[in-house]
Amino acid sequence: MTETPIVEAATATDRTPVLECRNLCVSYFTRAGEAPAVVDFNLKLMPGEAHGIVGESGCGKSTVALAIMNYMGRNGAIVGGEILFQGRDMRTMTQEELRRIRGSKIAMVYQEPMASLNPSMRIAEQLAEVPLYHEGVSQREALARAESMLEQVRLPDPKRIMNSYPHQISGGQQQRVVIAMALLSNPSLLLLDEPTTALDVTVEAGIVELIKEVAAKFGTSLIYISHNLGLILETCSRLTVMYSGEAVETGAIHDVFDNMRHPYTRGLFGSIPVPGANKNARPLAAIRGQLPLPYARPKGCFFGPRCDYFVEGRCDQPPLMMHEVAPGSSHATRCVRFAEIDWSAAKASVAERQPVQRGQVVLRVEDLSKHYIIESGAAALIGARRTVKANEKISFRAHEAETVAIVGESGCGKSTFAKVLMGLEPASAGKVQLGEIELANLPVQRRDKHTISRLQMVFQNPFDTLNPSHTIGGQIGRVIRKFGVESDPKKVQDRVDQLLDIVKLPRDFAKRLPRQLSGGQKQRVGIARAFAGNPDMVIADEPVSALDVSVQAAVTGLLMDIQREHRTTLLFISHDLSVVRYLADRIIVMYLGQIMERGTTEEIFSPPYHPYTEALLSAVPIADASVRKRKIVVAGEIPSPTKPPPGCPFQTRCHYMIKGVCDVTPPPLREFGADHVIACHLEKDALEKMEPVITAGTAA
């Protein structure tokens, strides 16, 4: 644990809890019948306490938040249990009583700040409404309070923001406005529903910092809902793990993190790439199987079919109750066998593997630049043009059987780079060589079949990667025929079957349509499609970022297995440093279209760092209580790529910024070791003096 939690769990029992959920059951009513979304949920939240709810998508964690707000939409309803807010059952309150509590006693922060703010109202009015309607203060007073609250959430220039419409400020600023709105009436309970999921990681770090700070300052109790265990560790003192609508384990953060007592919690932790994990020495273990549908849950333990410790006759006997791990402890688990399982035994299912030897250079990129010229309608008339430098002087090499990762936040130009490689956009300058072929200005239409099949891609969004109108088999088969691997229908079919085997999907999936597949399965088909033409190199553009952690582990594992087998070069584009650390051999860190630092994974994760790498490393939440992190919070937000700052692109947020140097001249390249390059104005020895950001503690 890096820092102390906001407020230690209240130990006094005489105080009434702020919120108590007792056996809460929530269902949605759909055409298919009643779908229980939350089953038998219990929670006790003391004043000033921060409680985390963690789970994968569809586990019911957001439903809990909305149920607490008593806002279930048209087809949802609380079907059992009670929700006590400061000792009063919210289910018995009238609409008017609920209205008085909402926004004043209980406030909420949402996942998508842009969608949560009214697009046609100025921020001033949206904020002032809260004191105006809850406390009946004057308009002037309300506006004054709104402005001072904007200052307290550390928004620069509150006057300007008060006068803005939501779309005129950035995502991080919007979320700060939403937080300000929630805090305006000094609520006793703040619900945070994935408040940073839509934001970049360096922006996220700032918001998390703010939440901790204001909660401490106002003494607010928090319920923090997230899919990210690392974030929960940073913000909460207690935690509930949910699976398929049920709380499976609950307890103090350290009890759960260090002595987990439910196989699902353990599986979840096993699939997260923490600093100790390594693709060769300590590979991740995915949870097998899939989340059951709400109306098709198994009898007894919902996790049963995916559990390694499942015992017939015991685990499939309902009802399953929460068991205290130790008598009198607040640490509880829903596993009936928790006392029998040897929790200290290492998971032996995944074996250690030999590192792969890299081969010859496959891809050579030299000073590649891609500039766009923007001519907006009105500007075109007067001849005003703006150049967007999406990629600026990018150089690196990738070898056979090697995994090279490109890391960066939004707007760093990583997707543009992929487009140039694939031949969908011409390069503005520089060279790209795949083997002996020059690709920089060879659009895909002019590449021959063989060249195209040598370079393939795995896409980001599983819901977009497959054409919803065609069958899986048809789509893979098309690639096989197109690249001339096979043409005889029988042989194409055989090859499709073979590819489905490789990505571990049943052969009869060939006849299915994409909508009948889960996200992870679709991503597997996407991988099969990319490997159908036996490529030399595969570009994977955030292939797992839209998937749940347990599925992520399975998909990355698969991708690496195939790569290892075929000795394919993998260019892995990602914003997630944890994943990258786990699977990459070499890393390229990009910011606003430029390479800030490149080197081996080892080199990137230890000093000397580029200041941006340093900030990025510090911002990534890590779900390991034994890891210590040096805290560096960078100021501000990522500038728009259309208006990059002069000099070094990172200078606006860098705390090493040297006035008159960094904001004037582009940074020089400083070389350390064979292929470790940092683009920074800091002198070599200054860079070398940096301390490590992440230090692993004793093994968990």
Binding site: A32, S57, P294, L424, Q456, M457, T465
Partner: protein, 343 residues
């Protein structure tokens, strides 16, 4: 949000997949449509014997299609009511020659009232000012408006969708040029455009097809262009591009099938508009020509003589008939949209 997930998970197989054999379905539609088109469009060129049995295979095809429609859309009562109205008129259209009706063009008893028995014939719905049986004229009257309406909509769709795909997918210069032409055409109020085109070409069924194409294709083009723009940035299109597929193949195989949902709904609505347009144009004297019965024509011929309460049936019957057909198309569109939103 959890709601979304659940509704996603519980979604049964959507309606357009549920009709299991698309080839069989297309076969049935052709079996119904080709004879009807032959009969109505090229009637004068057919020999009498051919004319007497050409519509026979269309009757079972129509019934079969109706049964399929009702069973596959059973969850949407709105769609079923719509389909029932539309298929009622389709059935009447294909079976008119075999129904026990007297010749719709034969003048018998002018101004015979509803239910009157004159000249050895029960005039259930009365007779018009020339003495022609209203029931027979009304039922026969659906043929031409159906055939020309559907054909015109199909042609307009083919043209509009093609240009919409071009403009949306290729964008740039193509988009600018196509959009400019569309903007010019869309600057005309529809009826003004109809009047100008039909006045220039002369009134006939084929010219209605041309006029409807000019009037509707720009709007269709805009819809398809919008759908294309929306789909164009999807990863699977990107995937097709990166494996070097030809733009035409991408447009037809990758883009078009994914736009079919909104297109089908819009096509149903547009069938309604086209029916309105044909009836109105015929009423204005710019559309279908006498003597064969048509609803618009019946209204046009009766406005001069039927402006009395006693003879108002001459106006009401065709007006209600055409309204029921349009209502059918609109309800069908509503039901299909509702189902596609649920899935």
């Amino acid at each position: 949000m959890t709601t979304a997930n659940i509704s996603l998970d519980t979604a049964p197989v959507p309606f357009n997949v549920r009709i299991r054999q698309p080839t069989a379905l297309i076969g049935l539609v052709l079996l119904m449509w080709v004879p009807l088109t032959l009969y109505v469009m090229f009637g004068p060129f057919l020999s009498d014997t051919l004319k007497s049995f050409v519509l026979l295979p269309a009757i079972p095809a129509t019934v079969a299609l109706y049964v399929i429609a009702v069973t596959s859309w059973r969850e949407s009562p709105v769609a079923i009511i719509g389909a029932t109205l539309v298929f009622f008129w389709l059935f009447v259209a294909v079976s008119a020659p075999y129904l026990p009706l007297i010749d719709p063009n034969k003048p018998l008893a002018p101004f015979a009232e509803m239910g009157a028995y004159k000249k050895d014939h029960w005039f259930l719905l009365g007779a018009d000012f020339k003495g022609r049986d209203m029931l027979s004229r009304d039922l026969w009257g659906c043929q031409r408006v159906l055939v020309w309406g559907v054909s015109a909509t199909l042609v307009a769709y083919a043209v509009g969708a093609f240009f919409g795909l071009l403009a949306g997918y290729l964008s740039g210069w193509w988009d600018q040029a196509i959009s400019l032409v569309c903007n010019i055409l869309l600057s005309f109020p529809v009826m003004v455009l109809f009047i100008l085109i039909l006045n220039y070409l002369g009134p006939s069924g084929f010219n209605i097809v041309i006029a409807v194409t000019f009037a509707s294709a720009p709007a269709i083009m805009r819809i398809v262009r919008g759908l294309t723009l929306d789909t164009r940035s999807r990863d699977y299109i990107f995937a097709a591009q990166t494996r070097g597929e030809h733009p035409l193949r991408i447009m037809i195989f990758e883009l078009l099938p994914n736009a079919r949902g909104p297109i089908i709904v819009d096509a149903c609505l547009r069938l309604g508009y086209t029916t309105v347009a044909i009836t109105t144009l015929t009423f204005l004297g710019l559309g279908l020509q006498p003597p064969d019965p048509d609803w618009g024509l019946m209204i046009k011929e009766s406005t001069k003589v039927a402006m009395v309460w006693k003879f108002s049936y001459m106006l009401l019957i065709p007006a209600l008939s055409v309204s029921s057909l349009i209502l059918g198309f609109n309800l069908l569109a509503d039901g299909l949209r509702e189902m596609s939103l649920r899935d």
